[in-house]
Symmetry: C2
């Protein structure tokens, strides 16, 4: 026992010594010498910003950054009766359809309710097709309960349904359920694949090519993993399209300092709203093949295509139509989600990824890796199943389902057009057509004086603009700097999700604000 005590005292002294070097709070020698033997050593925190994971510090996620935090604060202030020049905050910062008033698809919610509380299977109020879907999902669950863990890769029958959906969508090109991994939203799948690909040190460190502007999940994950971000710029003048020559320039430059191994594409584009042509996708695949790049295709907006002449082409389909020289070689991971399209079920965190041409040994490692987190949420898996296995003609829920689906997509198409049209009437705002997805990413001209004032405050000029917009009009947008943009250009991302009436009000408020702002700083 006395030996034990002695050892402890030794160790404590060592701690004091160590904490002197590792902690940020300097030790006070006087205090240290006057305290009694039983007192705790004086010390700072174990975990401080100086001693925490340095990669995490580099992470940035503008979609929920300072603007949104301020918006939440303003909402509280409004509730508390603080007077503002507006009645409510309109949040157009995030693709969160239900929060903007979109109603859930009835069939989907019926099936999930049935899976959750199977006693409802005896209820006449639920249509037979909903009950059949629920029974089938429950039969695939351990103990027939969605409260059981599923296999880590996802419920068997859901993965089969996903594969059938992809096969139908891609005109019969086969999809193997073994290549399907269900995920906790698309974000989870994207981070997992990036994680597998991140290796090397210094000049051999994995480089990841992402578009600018990009969805900041990519830059955030790259920072967290300590990979190297490689920017390629989309062509704003050509409706945010992707130029292969720019990919080539960007890759060329990156090879000087890292090992570029991954090319990420978001189509339809977030935040650009651009829809890629079949030709462009072919060119990208050819480029990836030639340059030995792993392709990641973020296709979560695959049903969100509005513009005439635009069509969604999956990377998988184009890859296979290019013939075996490509389809047998190019490694591709494609991502989908329950959060976007016409369903907008973000809260359920459902998603899947399909991996093509992945080395079987790597696939085994992937399966092992996802097993550590046990499984994606079962309700989200069930929802993903319904998205890929929706009511069919002849089934009792078909008509209601189609009516609801069409209503959402037509409203979005209308709002996409409206947004472009109204924004383009404002001098100093120029907006590309919103061909797809859920966002516009207009360019704004800011007066020199505003830019200087922002810089003096240490703010990005478009952050300064958006913050002022929020304070004066209650509109919450995300500055372009959060997505990346060409030096000297300024943008914001705005969702097209608010109900048409509110969207119109918002756009007109924005117009007014922009005019006033321009005047004020000119």
């Amino acid at each position: 026992m006395s030996q034990h005590t002695k050892r402890s005292v030794c160790a404590r002294n060592r701690t004091v010594f160590l904490s002197f070097f590792t902690s940020n709070t300097p030790l006070c020698p006087t205090a240290s010498s006057t305290r009694t033997a039983s007192a705790l050593p004086l010390r700072g925190k174990v975990l401080t910003v100086d001693t925490m994971n340095a990669n995490v510090k580099k992470v940035d996620y503008a979609v929920r950054g300072p603007i949104v935090q301020r918006a939440v604060q303003i909402e509280k202030e409004l509730k508390e009766g603080v007077k503002k020049p507006f009645e409510e905050v309109i949040k157009a910062n995030i693709g969160d359809a239900h929060a903007m008033g979109q109603r859930p698809i009835t069939f989907f919610r019926q099936v999930i309710a049935l899976c959750t509380y199977p006693q409802l299977l005896d209820d006449n109020k639920f249509p037979e097709d909903a009950k059949n879907r629920a029974r089938r999902i429950l039969q695939s669950c351990g103990g027939n309960s969605i409260g059981a863990y599923t296999t880590s890769q996802g419920i068997d029958c859901v993965r089969h349904d996903v594969a059938s959906y992809i096969q139908r969508r891609d005109g019969g090109i086969p999809s193997d359920p073994d290549n399907i991994y269900l995920t906790t939203g698309a974000s989870d799948g994207i981070v997992t694949i990036l994680k597998l690909l991140t290796a090397g040190e210094g000049r051999t460190r994995t480089g990841v090519m992402i578009s600018i502007p990009q969805y900041p999940l990519y830059s955030a994950s790259i920072a967290e993993l300590g990979a190297v971000q490689i920017n390629y710029y989309l062509n704003e003048e050509k409706c945010w399209s992707l130029d292969i020559s720019e990919l080539q320039r960007s890759l060329h430059a990156a090879r000087e300092h890292c090992n570029p191994r991954v090319l990420c594409i978001i189509n339809p584009g977030n935040p650009t709203g651009q829809v890629q042509s079949r030709q462009c996708i072919e060119d990208v695949i050819r480029f990836a093949a030639k340059e030995n790049l792993f392709l990641m295709a973020d296709e979560v907006y695959q049903d969100n295509v509005y513009a005439e002449g635009c069509e969604f082409h999956s990377f998988k389909k184009v890859l296979f139509e290019m013939g075996p020289e490509y389809s047998s070689k190019v490694e591709l991971a494609s991502f989908h989600s329950t959060s976007k399209c016409y369903m907008g079920e973000c809260g359920f965190r459902g998603g899947y990824m399909e991996v093509i041409n992945m080395d079987p040994e790597v696939k085994a490692q992937l399966t092992k890796l996802v097993s550590v987190r046990l499984c994606p949420p079962a309700p989200g898996q069930a929802l993903m199943d319904l998205v890929v296995n929706s009511p069919q003609p002849g089934e009792p829920s078909y008509q209601t389902f189609m009516k609801e689906r069409t209503a959402v997509l037509s409203a979005l198409a209308e709002k996409a057009k409206l947004t472009e049209e109204i924004l383009n009437t404002v001098p100093g705002i120029s907006c590309n057509p919103v061909q797809g997805a859920m966002y516009s990413f207009p360019r704004i001209t800011l007066p020199e004086r505003a830019i200087n004032e922002a810089k003096a405050k240490g703010q990005a000029p478009d952050m300064f603009y958006c913050m002022k917009l929020l304070e004066e009009s209650g509109i919450c947008l995300v500055p372009g700097s959060g997505f990346g943009q060409r030096e000297g250009t300024y943008h914001f991302r705005m969702t097209i999700l608010p109900p048409t009436d509110k969207l119109k009000i918002m756009l007109n408020k924005l117009k007014e604000f922009h005019q006033k702002f321009t005047q004020q700083y000119s």
Copy 2:
């Protein structure tokens, strides 16, 4: 255009050159020189086990490892009519209560069904208290839908309810909703905190102290993050209790090669089934304070305490009862989940963590980090709410709820006792009391010849044992080597979750097998 072509060719040549060094598949110079200009460069995969993330390769997760994969295969074979010396596989490898036949708590599922399909709020079949809970949760959701993203830290009212629960549980010691983070199961929270804490290189790399045996989420996450695993051994002779002298030994040794910053405790213990005494917890806290360690308390089995004289004491409560010298200093994160206790709702991936004394700047970083993944699944958050805000006396659902809860916990208590008793009748098996959690971790004596045969096959001896058990009797357990154990000792982890009848059959089959195995190899 010709310039573009020229650039591409250059780049292609560079790729061939690079891939020679980075890819594992050697280039064949003959093939390279004979292929046409338009053909793709010969190359291997971008992503191979040799070029993938090296930390991911080191990850191991026995709970879903080779034994379980073989069990799934055997189940398929049985379905296909392959004859086996058993009719079904009994999976006692994972704490998956519903898969083992446990029924969900009615009230919980009613509320989640109501949240999912709010039309049911008009249905007379649902009790008023269930409806009230659902309405309250929905009012906290964007657009009153659980399909909306929640705030990244979790739904406001749920975090408030969690804080109230903790305060009640801990005899009035205050809990601040701002310190509560909802998570995607407890695993998610544990990995997130470990991620924040991982820093440094070489001898300054973060060391994480974990018990041996441990739950392999810890070793897997430490490997993935590239942190340093520091083992401290639990005392099997003293019912798997924790000795402070062993913590001291382990820390002392680790300081030679890394920077120990974290001490992880699982209480009640997984896989040991041990419940820590209040005294032990006090000693651990004192040790953490003295040695400047961040405490992580995995308390997901807080309702699973069966043995007489045992009681659950939260680290938070003990910390605060030790007075301000400790409660104002020691950094603690405590984890809970919807997956265990009496509810066993693993599929919903619900959970929370409470952080105590976390540096405010680090907390801001934590909030930022979790925002990248947007939010934990909303149905899991709702379920967590019900666990911490269950029916109260006087509410219509109270009696049924209590009946169901008590039935599950009494059955578990009975099965804990049964397991210990039957296992201890087998010569060569010795089992500590299952005081809590859902597992027994008995020690098995293996004949020398069996050990040698296993080693010749490159298998851990207890893996060899468990694999044979699975093939001959259909019982699926996890070998002790998957959790860690003292050199030269062998164990397995077995859940106590199968229904009592099945558990008895399983234990008797196990007994028979062990006797046969011992005979065969003696």
